[in-house]
């Protein structure tokens, strides 16, 4: 296992880059593990990594039906931030932010954390008030936040539309300077490499088709390549949570929806931060390769199809031009979609389930990527200790029975509205 550094790079260069070794092994499955994690995306791999690193549990397998990182980890718009207002969310996402800030060194893998800041634009006095409340909650919890008026936003982002033609004038913005972007694929690969070097088996091209039972208790998984026994089975399958839960007889407060992402052709640096439009569901940043990465609203109807429709393409590009008129002549290079596990209050689950031996990590809506490290960290804690950490204490399934809805937007039990 090579330690990555500028020196190792030079050394390999001099030997014609022919001596690199695998970033992670391609092992045979053992018959049994302490923990089998279903889903080799960022969350599953992070869970495996922290199980090994923080809890010394290394007899772990990550079972992935395709190739690791091939799901939403490789399809999102790479934004990381910790600007959540509701108790139950705020400190969880801040833990994630703090793990991000140390992740490249921790993994010895450059996941390219770029803390270029994020603006949430406000387009009415009411939105400014809501932003102020959010900002105050962040500051009171030790998270950086600033509230800017129109003039300050204009000074910082002069290329937005401040003309009287703008349908929704910019009144101001709430800004988090520690927010930014990370290289999504690198996150999966870095965690995979980190977990692998601590002994975790990553089993790709292996689909979970059912569970092994020991009475009423889950005792492992049935896969396309045979059985794997496990003391604990942990689901990290995002949009496919409902499907895998159903195999265990659970109905979840989750609907699977399609979220699209867009990238333009590469251009020289144009936008050096992350901007969220307040008048429509739209946000943008520019990748290091130069492509403007755009995110929009859900396609609104339940879908597992991993392909989006034209209405949201039109809607997203219209938002882009409304926010930044110069984007009109730039060109859309590619648009794609991921399947989102939208929960009934827009907040996730990191919890034991009513089924003994089965643990659930899901309901990420479209906040999954930024949560990756804390999600893995808290899920590992919950699996190892059979009890939640305080940062994920509220991410339970039964919160709806109690009425503890963690609803950042206040839209109620309508998954496609979060």
């Amino acid at each position: 296992m090579t330690k990555y550094s500028a020196f190792s790079l030079v050394r390999h260069a001099l030997s014609g880059n022919r001596n690199w070794t695998r970033a992670w092994r391609d092992p045979e499955s053992k018959p049994a593990y302490d923990v089998v994690i279903v889903g080799g995306g960022g969350h599953g791999l992070a869970t495996a990594y922290y199980l090994a690193k923080e809890h010394g549990i290394t007899n772990v397998a990550v079972v992935e039906k395709g190739w690791l990182g091939g799901g939403n980890t490789g399809r999102n718009t790479t934004i990381v931030r910790s600007n959540y207002m509701m108790p139950g969310n705020t400190m969880f996402y801040e833990r994630s932010m703090q793990l991000w800030e140390d992740l490249s060194q921790d993994l010895n893998y450059n996941v390219m954390i770029s803390q270029r800041g994020q603006y949430n634009l406000c387009h009415s006095p009411g939105q400014m008030d809501a932003a102020r409340r959010r900002g105050n909650v962040m500051r009171a919890n030790g998270i950086d936040a600033e509230l800017f008026d129109r003039a300050e936003v204009k000074r910082r982002l002069p290329y937005l539309d401040y003309s009287d033609k703008a349908r929704f004038p910019i009144h101001g913005a709430i800004y988090q300077s520690r927010a930014g972007t990370a290289r999504h694929d690198a996150v999966a690969w870095g965690f995979a490499r980190g977990a692998d070097r601590r002994g975790v088996d990553i089993l790709q091209q292996r689909e979970v088709t059912g569970y092994l039972w020991d009475g009423g208790r889950i005792a492992g998984v049935q896969t396309s390549q045979g059985e794997i026994r496990a003391k604990k089975v942990a689901l990290c399958v995002a949009g496919h949570s409902g499907h895998l839960a159903q195999m265990a007889g659970l109905r979840l407060p989750i609907e699977t929806h399609c979220l699209q992402a867009f990238v333009t052709e590469p251009y020289k640096p144009l936008v050096d931060t992350v901007i969220s439009f307040g008048a429509a569901h739209f946000y943008l940043s520019q990748s290091d390769k130069g492509g403007l990465v755009l995110g929009g609203d859900l396609d609104m109807y339940n879908s597992y199809a991993q392909k989006g429709g034209l209405p949201i393409v039109e809607h997203t590009l219209a938002s882009a031009k409304a926010l930044m008129p110069c984007m009109s002549r730039l060109k859309l290079l590619r648009h794609w979609a991921g399947v989102m596990d939208m929960s009934m209050d827009g907040s996730p689950f990191i919890t034991k389930t009513p089924v003994e031996g089965l643990y659930l990590n899901g309901g990420w809506n479209y906040g999954g990527f930024k949560a990756t490290p804390a999600s893995g960290w808290c899920f590992a804690y919950t699996i190892a200790r059979d009890a939640p950490h305080k940062d994920n204490a509220e991410f339970t399934l039964e919160r709806f029975n109690r009425g503890y809805q963690i609803d950042e937007k206040g839209v109620g039990p309508q998954p496609n509205a979060h």
Binding site: P253, N302, L310
Partner: protein, 95 residues
């Protein structure tokens, strides 16, 4: 672009409609005071991979609520009825 054959207005683009929700869950009777019934109705979903019964509202047309069968893997469209006739239609299909 999903296209929905509204029984009143004809075949129209999804943009004329708003998506309702899962139409397979039944709203408990007003008199029903069973907490779990309401929790299941409001929060819990089968969320199937494949055929899905769902509500759509033709807001830019006849303003009728429809019950549509749609495949969540392929976006293929199945039957479509006015919500007010939907149970009837299902019963007939069962015959």
């Amino acid at each position: 672009m999903i296209r929905i054959d509204c029984p009143v207005c004809g075949l129209r683009d999804e943009t004329e409609f708003t998506y309702g929700a899962d139409a397979s869950v039944t709203r408990p009777a007003m008199e029903d005071t069973g907490m779990q019934h309401w929790v299941d109705y409001v929060f819990n979903r089968d969320n199937p991979r494949g055929w899905h019964r769902e509500y759509w509202h033709h807001v830019q047309g006849c303003r009728q609520w429809l019950v549509l069968e749609r495949n969540t893997l392929t976006h293929q469209i199945g039957t479509c009825h006015l919500a007010r006739d939907a149970d009837l239609a299902v019963k007939e299909a069962a015959k």
